[in-house]
Symmetry: C2
Subunit: 417 residues, 2 copies
């Protein structure tokens, strides 16, 4: 019987984190706010994984709760919190070494992350509308009275082609890390711990974060080849985050104060069709130049898009149907959100094409004032719709952070309810 412990093996990795972080930063020319292999603090006012500088890899999972027993669900949330605290610190999910005297027991960690550093792993939990009441209105866990108004199911948007089996879920957990093996290990162990209480409904891997969430990060590119997230909310914009990201006292039930609402949309991109369209047309649809990322007619990526000037032909320089215009706060009553989506390629689609696209993730104080109006605007008019299909959708209420080791995921939701 061998002793298995991730912690012992990780110290070297953590000690070297500074050098590794510096190396990773050179890849994109950015200053790393969190290094490539360091641990991100799990406890705090807000959950990590929202304004945390976006890591490079994602594994997102949505669970169905399969128990009817409220106490078992609460116990799972407590067990998960312990495991998440350990894994985000670069440890194994449970003390596997400690079971050396129990060779007949399954290991308390699955092992594939042994020797790997924390890799900036964050685990962020949210609760879906169906946890509070089923589609037919049944109150499953005595939580119906606690459902925030902002957690009303999303409306159907024009052109939606959602796969119900790949959408929604009672609980969503976002794992982000700079090593996919670490993100996968975390989700897999949470699923293992939850066996009999929850069941994996859908899960999604992503790479190449498509938005920066910190001013220190360079803007990455999506699979249309364009810089994405130039005007994203950033961790450093305290006032904007209060206004647009974090739920404020009085917004709704107190258990969500300091939390945020998470919208996921799996957006298939028809990249083969896109790749056949002229560069000038691609740029008109996006509203940005492909090379620099600058708004049409301007030179710098971070130049404010000019939505009003007209050219010699009396047409707006920024095309009327440009994505940048339709999604701009000025077009949407000031709506803003924090995006941290990822590119995906899920093999091929059986029709000779890559099954590729964007797994869109946004966090916001109230979807009704952010994602919903912006998506209504885009769904109705965006020329980009010719090249994309929304195939999956999710909405989750992400509570505030865990304050200390005695606290657990969802404690506010379940306490006194």
């Amino acid at each position: 019987m061998s002793k298995v412990s991730r912690r012992a093996l990780v110290i070297g990795g953590l000690g070297a984190a500074g050098a590794v972080g510096a190396g990773a930063a050179l890849l994109t020319g950015e200053e790393p706010a969190v290094s490539f292999s360091d641990a991100v603090a799990f406890h705090g006012t807000h959950q990590a994984g929202i304004v945390t500088p976006a890591q490079d890899r994602l594994h997102f999972v949505a669970f169905d709760v399969v128990t009817k027993d409220r106490d078992r669900l609460i116990q799972l949330l407590k067990d998960w919190t312990v495991a998440a605290t350990r894994m985000t610190a670069g440890k194994d999910a449970g003390e596997v070494g400690a079971v050396a005297g129990l060779p007949e027991a399954p290991p308390d960690d699955t092992g594939e992350a042994i020797g790997l550093p924390a890799s900036a792993l964050t685990l962020t939990i949210g609760f879906g509308p169906t946890l509070f009441r089923t589609a037919d209105g049944r109150d499953r866990f005595g939580l119906a009275g606690r459902q925030p108004g902002a957690l009303a199911p999303l409306p159907k948007f024009t052109g939606d082609t959602l796969d119900a089996a790949l959408s929604d879920g009672d609980i969503g957990i976002q794992a982000c890390a700079n090593d996919p093996q670490v993100a996968v290990h975390a989700i897999r162990n949470l699923a293992r711990i939850g066996m009999g209480v929850v069941s994996v409904r859908w899960s999604q891997l992503g790479f190449g974060r498509t938005s920066s969430t910190s001013t220190g990060q360079a803007t990455p590119r999506n699979l249309f080849g364009f810089k994405d997230g130039t005007r994203n909310l950033k961790a450093e914009q305290d006032e904007l985050l209060r206004e647009h990201l974090w739920v404020q006292p009085g917004d709704g039930p107190a258990w969500m104060d300091g939390g945020s609402y998470l919208v996921t949309r799996k957006i298939r991109m028809l990249v083969e069709t896109w790749d056949r369209s002229p560069l000038v047309e691609q740029e008109a649809i996006v509203g940005r130049h492909k090379g620099s990322g600058a708004p049409i007619g301007l030179a710098g990526e971070f130049d404010e898009p000019d939505l009003t000037s007209v050219g010699d032909d009396d047409e707006p320089i920024m095309p009327k149907i440009a994505h940048v215009r339709l999604a701009h706060p000025a077009t949407n009553n000031g709506a803003r959100m924090l995006r941290r989506g990822y590119n995906f390629v899920d093999g091929s689609d059986g029709l000779g094409r890559l099954n590729a696209g964007l797994f869109f993730i946004s966090y916001q104080r109230d979807p009704a004032k952010a994602f919903i109006p912006v998506q209504r605007s885009l769904a109705a008019q965006d020329e980009m719709n010719e090249y994309i299909r929304h195939v999956s959708s999710g909405l989750f209420a992400c509570p505030p952070g865990i304050r200390d080791a005695g606290d657990f995921w969802g404690s506010g939701l379940f306490s006194g309810a």
Copy 2:
């Protein structure tokens, strides 16, 4: 119209490659033979991507050839060779900036890798049995007389549950890189260039290489949580590579001299079932200790497995059905191959489980003396079969390397045929 050029943006990244490589190496404690972001030479005696120290990420694609025109196929192979030469050097697939005067033309590169370094990208091509003759014996491109005996379709193995739509293919291309965005970009651009000549049959992403191919690399772990590939053939073992990896003159048609045969198997792992089995049982099935990777009964990962000693109970110390024993050269007439597989998670399976496993890749001089006998042995007896399903299979003849800029992928196969 913006100018788009990857090359200009890449220089900074390449200049910093030394530092980045050092950083990446610290993650695993290994000495990097190829740095994290450097370019790997495309030209050489053998194709890159075989003994090249295994990169961290994979995008594998299998194409169907949809043209009947031999000349169009040859032209595509030439076009691909030019694009592959560029992309493996960290450039865009085509001179996108050069089309600035042609705004109505689609860009010659899709753009998502702009600004990213070469990331040790390798592109390795192989030709499947169906390129030479169809299942009903038709000679599609005048190549039937050139099909090597070693490229006979693989036999059906006990327990195979292959999905035909996810198996085989006329042409296979393996893209490995240390950045998934770079690997995906390469495959996507090859598919774009091949439009009308080839069609994507299936494709697979992978992460966390599950074998080392160089003595300088630490042994990584598969999704069973065990070290995988400890006894793999390594780049430094010249004599063994000659004997087991590279096709030698006289083995078959001369166009394959210096090449190698590639077998792919997508192996779904039932990780939820595995995770419920006791540690001692997991270790008996694998034949190694989970923590150290040492063979059962021994202390060091690289200790030679002891297949003969018996314990106090007169039973072999290395269990009779251990994977290590069944796959060992001593059990298979000396069979050895070079493995460079990757872990995968393709979301969930709709039954509450992760769709996870190993995308097995092996290269060998002759499958009939390597993969086939070993897989026959495993398929018949391996206790691990309870936890795995082979769902996809591929076989490809990978020609030798491209010697110079005048050469192209498949030149030997098509010349004079």
